[in-house]
Amino acid sequence: MRNESLKDIAIKELLLQLADDDFIHSYRGAEWLGLAPHIEEDVASASISQDTMGHAAIYYKLLDELGEGDADKLAHDRPAKERRNAIILELVNGPGYYMKDPEYDWAFAVVRNYFYTQAKAIKVQSLHSCSYAPLAEVAQKVQMELYYHLMHWKTWFVQLLGSGHLEAVSRMKAAIGKTMPDFAGVFSLGQYGEEMVELGLIEGEADLQKKWIEAITPIFESVGLATTIEIGMARGDGRNGQHTEDLEKALETLSEVYATDKAASW
């Protein structure tokens, strides 16, 4: 066992959570390529996924600098049980496969993307005053790019719910109902959460969650949603390695090329 300080462990854990969240979120976003509702959305969501993969890559790079191995290895060569991403982000876009009969749910994509992007904006804002300087620096840049992502998903969310279209509204409500029970996983800081807060790396789970609810409440109200915002971790805490089969399948697919030749240069 390596003789690591608690501080080092807490920094690495936080970086892994941030990286793994963005990595799988970007992957699920990229699965919409060619399937999005219209061509402008195809361009937009692909661009957002690319930015998000860039964010994952920079967090993996920070981990590399801390001796955790290079970004490719961290992204492709870790089994599901070692991943720290929140469970809600790994769930499939819908039944079927990308290449054959994908019955993806755009309402779920919009809800998950809007909720996550707003949560990420709050975390990244908190990271501005992170005591680990390299992460505070990266947060500045991520936030600038995120501005556009949030604007985009908020627009979809408000338009679909405010459309008055029965199918749109009922599907959006169902998607909200599907997302809430697992969404607290995004705010979980895992088993080293207390240390992270004590070390001044990031604000605590409850504070982050409170800010998120404050941010989305007026948006809910603007579309006449009276739903009480209650979130949970129904399927477990991804930060501590609990995951679904969806993640295993996703990792198998996305690391297929990498696994054929791990020494290849990209």
Binding site: E40, V43, S47, E137, K141, M144, Y148, M151, H152
Partner: protein, 165 residues
């Protein structure tokens, strides 16, 4: 024969020729991507700022900088480094850069957004202000797609990237 001393002016002159891989009327200097150049003997170190973190052109730009600077016989090693800080913002684009973008049919980013977060650009072809935003996202992370109602041309604009507090 005396040793040839490298100077930063020479280096900057060569960097002027390193264009954005997708916009050949704009150099990386025009875009404000070069933060610092230092020379140590025969080694040159170039510190750069990525425009967008996920920009796939970064490694191409890095290679192009290395190739450009190695043209000088006095240069032995070139080290290109992308910095995490400061963040690149669109106000780093020079006046020459803005003119170069327009030549390519891309409107330069405005210096600031309105208080509601919206912004406005004019058509790069006919200068008309009668334009509509078709998509905030475009063919690359840094661009948006617009349409000019006056001259009926679709065009692109570079997104404003402004520090948000």
């Amino acid at each position: 024969m005396s040793t040839i001393q490298l100077n930063t002016e020479e280096i900057y002159k060569l960097l002027e020729d390193v264009k954005d891989p997708e916009i050949d009327t704009v150099s990386i200097l025009d875009l404000g991507m070069v933060e610092d150049v230092t020379i140590s003997g025969k080694d040159v170190s170039v510190k750069m700022l990525p425009t967008f973190l996920g920009c796939p052109a970064l490694s191409i730009i890095q290679k192009n900088v290395e190739t450009a600077l190695r043209q000088l016989p006095a240069v032995k090693n070139v080290n290109v480094e992308f910095l995490r800080s400061p963040s690149w913002t669109s106000d780093r684009i020079t006046e020459k850069g803005k003119a170069g973008l327009k030549v390519f049919g891309i409107s330069p980013p405005p210096r600031q957004m309105k208080s509601d977060g919206s912004w406005h650009v004019d058509c790069p072809y006919c200068e008309s202000t009668y334009v509509t935003m078709e998509n905030i996202f475009g063919p690359t992370a840094c661009r948006s797609i617009l349409y000019c109602k006056a001259c009926k041309n679709p065009f692109e604009a570079m997104k404003p990237m402004i520090k948000i507090i």
